[in-house]
Symmetry: C2
Subunit: 253 residues, 2 copies
């Protein structure tokens, strides 16, 4: 059984401050918890309903499993719909960032929406991008909504929070192109782009910020098929990420 | 000033039932309301803070504008963060659906998440797709979160709720290819695809449903750049939509 105190501790992990203090975060819901199995993340504890434990706990050998009532799980979870299981897991240590000229990286500039951030990690993971840079003011990687939207990619993609302008300047010094999408850029479909470089993705409301824009060396455009008066102003940042990652990946075929 | 009764009426439009009864829906927030200006949607009423009215109401000539307090707007709005303005607008009449062999359509199969649905409309609009089919069990087009995520595209893309299997059978009879993405499909990057056809996009949890899958004539694959044991199971449906729409559009260049 779960003590009241433990419930309070786990639900406090919805806040970044407590996640940082304990170097742990919470993974919620069956799908995401099962993704844990496929990762090398260290699971501290699983809290689940009796039914879930009977069916699935055997997959997590050696992990402490506590039974919680539906009400306990509701208190722990950040999600609106109650879930059957949450896991408390240890944050991974990330290796110091070393840029490799031949590889593609994403650089997230002030991405605030956890759903977007998580979806971008899932897209990066899908297209084989293993490392993502993020400005310090991006949403926290271990925010429960980021974890959920990433569908397990949070366990598989290395995210480096850093001074983005400094990191992009380093990339430039290595001779890596630094890409961004703009309305006055070169058509991405016909642009001559290689395999390596950094793709900068901008804030939901303001796009790429001026101090970051100064580091862009290749301006690309995702052309719109609608006339200017009937087209949306832009694509959502996750949708733009999907198009750009797809364009880089496609050139391998 | 807004009467209590009117506040209650407007906030009731968060529910589909009342939207259908009145054939009106609510558009929330400055950005979406300004998108209204670019559309031919009929605005019934604007409710805004005194500041917003001073700055922007002149753009909506001939529209009834009511001043509301922050607390009034909070009561009306479905969003967590209070907004400065909401508009009550009339639903558009949609022309009966007539498929044109030379054009590309999206068909949404049981898309339940309003954020996904709205984002998909924004993507369709970006890539010049003017008509989207939706199964009857998709989320309602006029759900406030759909409207918000679409960033105005809800005013510019025609959405037809219909019996999807029947509509896809009609498309087949016209000789139109019916596309879907599957893990055993043909590489979309190298597939010979034309301009016209219908692209089916599947439910968030279950993908394309069996009765819809029977109507698919061309199975496509968005290849993953990660090995099977480190790749996410799938892309999010909006990300997949972005990649597929981009792939069709790219072939024009």
């Amino acid at each position: 059984m779960l003590s009241k105190n433990r419930i309070k501790q786990i639900s406090s992990l919805q806040q970044k401050k407590f996640r940082q203090e304990t170097s742990t975060f919470v993974v919620e819901g069956h799908k995401s918890v099962m993704e844990l199995l496929r990762s090398n993340v260290k699971v501290v504890e699983i809290v689940a309903t009796a039914d879930w434990i009977v069916q699935y706990a055997k997959h997590f050998r050696g992990v402490a499993v506590s039974e919680g009532s539906g009400a306990d799980l509701e208190r722990i979870s950040s999600m609106k719909a109650a879930c059957d299981v949450v896991a408390v897991v240890e944050m991974r240590d990330t290796e110091p960032l070393t840029l490799d000229k031949s590889r593609l990286y994403l650089a997230l500039d002030s991405i605030r929406d956890p759903g977007n951030f998580g979806t971008i990690l899932r897209i990066a993971n899908w297209f084989g991008i293993g490392t993502v840079l993020a400005s310090e003011d991006c949403v926290d990687l271990y925010n429960p909504k980021v974890v959920q939207a990433s569908m397990g990619s949070v366990f598989r993609v290395d995210v480096h929070y850093c001074d983005l302008a400094a990191a992009l300047t380093d990339a430039q010094k290595l001779g890596m192109p630094v890409y961004g999408t703009f309305l006055d850029g070169e058509n991405i479909y016909t642009a001559d782009i290689g395999c390596g470089g950094v793709v900068v993705l901008g804030n939901e409301g303001h796009g790429i910020l001026p101090e970051t824009e100064r580091c862009i060396t290749r301006r690309l455009l995702i052309p719109s098929g609608s006339s200017p008066d009937t087209s949306p102003e832009s694509l959502n940042v996750a949708a733009a990420t999907a198009v750009v990652c797809s364009e880089f990946y496609r050139r391998r075929f």
